[in-house]
């Protein structure tokens, strides 16, 4: 019997004009009533296409049917079988190209709002202190995890659940990786969500030691040889910013998105109680089209500047999540597509005054199917601005591979690790997340952490 047709339930959002001036979360999420209504749209498919498109094969129809029955505790337990970070993934997964992109309802109409439902359940579980696992008695084996981003947290939690003594070493002064320093408050609240996700992991008995840089403060070898860890999981992310190599890139006022976002998020520069300085001009140009670029440009806007995205392909190719592009537009961000910078120009004191760009057009599709942008001759023009933020992508930091004998990397600087287990070229050392794949997504990083947790357990048991 066909279900009664209900329109997709839209989650409430802060008014664009108001939110463009604050750092509160943009999307307010579902109420119980809204979640129940949205959940009722799901057909509980026998062969769910959505599940195939989720990188961790979250049991989507199952958790949604628990919502339909009003049993949120079971919904949250069902999710926790596959994901440890529902409140995070529900907010930041690129759902349109994953779960929701394949939802059967999406063929003719609008897909189920899987992400928003997942977020609802995750937040509900937190607000209601639902314990998903208890700390286990120590099994006598220690594992060190490098980095406290999604990959590290997931691996640590899974190992702690089966009795390992796990310690995470984090270079920065706060745990969470990109969730803490990169993704802004208005998309992923730090205290309400990230800190509590981290607390959950700690409540399983995982220790987190911040301010330890593996490769400098300690090394992988010293962890194994001197501190007695049986295995190490490297989840150090891909934090190294790229620059374009064009003229004027070292002028005052040119920063990487990482620097800008770290100052704003991790160091709370937008909050005047904090000491961190941030330089936000009247006019900011952000170069790039990914999530990082959207986050930087929206942060600049919130700090009071006129903010523009410059991207060399067309809007269709923007790699950022659809929702973020949409939100950015609502907030009044300018988009200059098919535009590529060729130089940055400074005033007599060495501060940015404009950026020279060229107009691009898309050529034939290359082998990868992407149409590569080509310069239109004679199309140079200047955009006046006083800050330029480079959001061109990042690559893994070489610090760990350079200081660990036998830990090999590929041409792109990514740690070589097998897909199944995350085993690296060095015995006892596993790796996963952005450190292995290059900049990717939260859910992939989390999935990699969980796979390696299993592999590390097998490795230690058979050692």
């Amino acid at each position: 019997m066909a279900k009664e047709k209900i329109d997709r339930v839209k989650a409430k959002e802060q008014d664009p004009q108001i939110r463009a001036t604050n750092f509160e979360e943009v999307c307010l999420g579902y109420t119980l009533e809204e979640a129940t209504r949205e959940a009722s749209r799901c057909l509980n498919c026998k062969n769910p296409r959505c599940v195939q498109a989720c990188p961790v094969s979250l049991k989507i129809p199952d958790f949604i049917s628990h919502i339909q029955q009003g049993d949120l505790a079971s919904a949250s337990r069902k999710i926790s079988e596959d994901s440890l970070l529902p409140s995070v993934c529900g907010r930041v997964c690129p759902q349109e190209s994953q779960c929701e992109g394949k939802c059967i309802l999406g063929i003719k109409g609008e897909s189920v709002s899987i992400g928003k439902l997942e977020r609802f359940v995750g937040d509900w579980a937190k607000d209601n202190n639902i314990k998903l696992a208890e700390p286990q008695p120590y099994n006598g084996h220690k594992v060190a995890v490098v980095g406290s981003g999604p990959a590290g947290l997931a691996c640590a939690a899974d190992l702690a659940k089966i009795g390992y003594g796990v310690k995470i070493f984090e270079a920065l002064h706060k745990a969470g990786g990109v969730l803490q320093y990169g993704i802004p408050e208005f998309r992923l609240p730090k205290e309400r969500i990230v800190a509590r996700e981290v607390e959950n992991v700690i409540s399983l008995g995982v220790e987190i030691e911040t301010n330890v840089i593996v490769g400098r403060t300690v090394t992988i070898d010293s962890l194994i040889d001197e501190e007695g860890y049986d295995a190490v999981f490297v989840a150090s992310g891909a934090g190294l910013p790229r620059f374009m190599g064009i003229d004027g890139e070292n002028l005052n006022g040119v920063v990487s998105a990482n620097e800008f976002l770290t100052r704003a998020n991790l160091m709370h520069a937008y909050d005047k109680d904090y000491d961190t300085p941030i330089y936000v001009g009247d006019r900011v140009v952000v170069v790039g089209g990914g999530n990082v670029a959207m986050d930087a440009v929206r942060t600049a806007k919130r700090l009071g500047s006129d903010a523009t995205i410059v991207y060399r392909r067309s809007e269709k190719e923007l790699p950022a999540r659809l929702e973020e592009v949409h939100h950015s537009k609502e907030e009044g961000i300018n988009f200059k597509m098919l535009t590529n910078p060729i130089s940055i120009n400074g005033d007599e004191k060495g501060w940015v005054k404009s950026i020279t760009c060229v107009q691009m057009e898309l050529g034939e599709a290359d082998a990868s199917g992407r149409r590569s942008p080509m310069i239109i001759e004679g199309s140079e023009f200047d955009i006046e601005c006083d800050v330029v933020i480079m959001a061109l992508g990042t690559s893994p930091n070489p610090l760990i591979s350079a200081t660990t004998e036998g830990l090999n990397t590929n041409k792109r600087g990514c740690i070589i690790a097998d897909d199944e287990k995350g085993a690296t070229t060095r015995e006892g050392v596993f790796a996963g997340g952005d450190a292995v794949t290059g900049a990717a997504t939260v859910i992939l990083a989390m999935g990699a952490g969980r796979k390696s947790a299993k592999a590390i357990d097998e490795y230690i048991k058979t050692k």
Partner: protein, 293 residues
């Protein structure tokens, strides 16, 4: 949390602190630095490691009060704790990887300026311990600002002092003193290692270029994370962009674009001076209250 175990004034607005940070103490090498944050809301500031004691688990830093954060550090006392103290960062001085015998044959001169004298000390100490002699010129505003003189005397071959006002030693800049040593005292050097204000290192490099002496400088660019993540610390060396925190802090002084480096250092000046003023007001307010009680 990282406890302050010692605090000592060295000169007007310059003081020393020992911080309990056993992991840093254990791994520290000459030439490296740390990043600290006083409290939850503080800013991350880089400071050079001036000494380390593995047994006590402490690291010595020497700080000059120049703005809000360094003032906040100065306001802390023994027994209080820092929120963050991470390191050692950056690469150790190049010479610790060199062949000792070859090193012993080299005539090394350190040129230190102001608070930059403190970070020279662990380098000299390391060399001295390994049987390598080195000379040093310490430059200071005046007699009162000469740091670590006693300590440095013990680990250096010849110690020269240059003061701006001539209240001690050579009257004039360190570059003048260097020229004097070479021109009038028949001194010859193979390597100069210079640490101090950017402007001083710039002129040291210009001077040594004249004499064709290899010169290493230790750059103190602005930093945030200190791990290569942000690029705030980028400098141009031999025409290429380099990250001071992971590829430095030491570079070939003849290849550094000092003008750019100095310009980049001033990026947050207006914002910072506003902050410093606010802190000053707060501190004054504090004093007033005490007065009233």
């Amino acid at each position: 949390m990282y406890k302050i175990t010692q605090k000592k004034d060295l000169a007007p607005n310059i003081f020393l602190m020992d911080i309990y940070a056993p992991r840093v103490a254990k791994s520290a090498k000459p030439g490296q630095f740390i990043i600290l944050k006083t409290d939850e809301k503080g800013e991350r500031v880089p400071l050079t490691i001036c000494d380390y004691n593995i047994e006590k688990g402490t690291v010595t830093i020497v700080i000059q009060i120049v703005g809000a954060t360094t003032q906040k550090i100065a306001d802390l006392n023994v027994g209080e704790e820092l929120d963050t103290f991470v390191g050692p960062l950056g690469n150790p001085s190049e010479f610790i990887f060199e062949n000792l015998e070859e090193l012993k044959d080299k005539k090394i001169l350190f040129i230190a300026g102001g608070v930059g004298t403190a970070p020279v000390y662990p380098q000299l100490k390391w060399l001295h311990k390994n049987g390598v002699d080195a000379d040093i010129i310490i430059g200071a505003k005046s007699e009162n600002y000469v740091l670590f003189e006693e300590e440095i005397k013990k680990v250096s071959a010849n110690l020269y002092i240059a003061t701006d006002d001539g209240s001690r030693g050579f009257k004039g800049l360190v570059t003048g003193c260097l020229e004097d040593l070479i021109e009038n005292h028949d001194k010859h050097y193979d390597v100069v290692i210079s640490i101090g204000p950017m402007i001083m290192m710039k002129f040291v490099a210009l001077t040594t270029k004249k004499y064709n002496i290899k010169t290493i400088v230790s750059l103190n660019s602005l930093m945030v994370d200190g791990t290569g993540m942000c690029g705030a610390c980028r400098v141009t060396v031999a025409g290429k962009t380099r990250f001071t925190c992971v590829e430095g802090p030491e570079f070939d002084g003849h290849e550094v674009d000092f003008d750019e480096a100095m310009r980049r250092q001033g990026q947050y000046k207006t914002i910072e001076s506003r902050k410093a003023k606010a802190l000053e007001e707060k501190r004054k307010g504090h004093k007033c209250k005490v007065g009233l009680n």
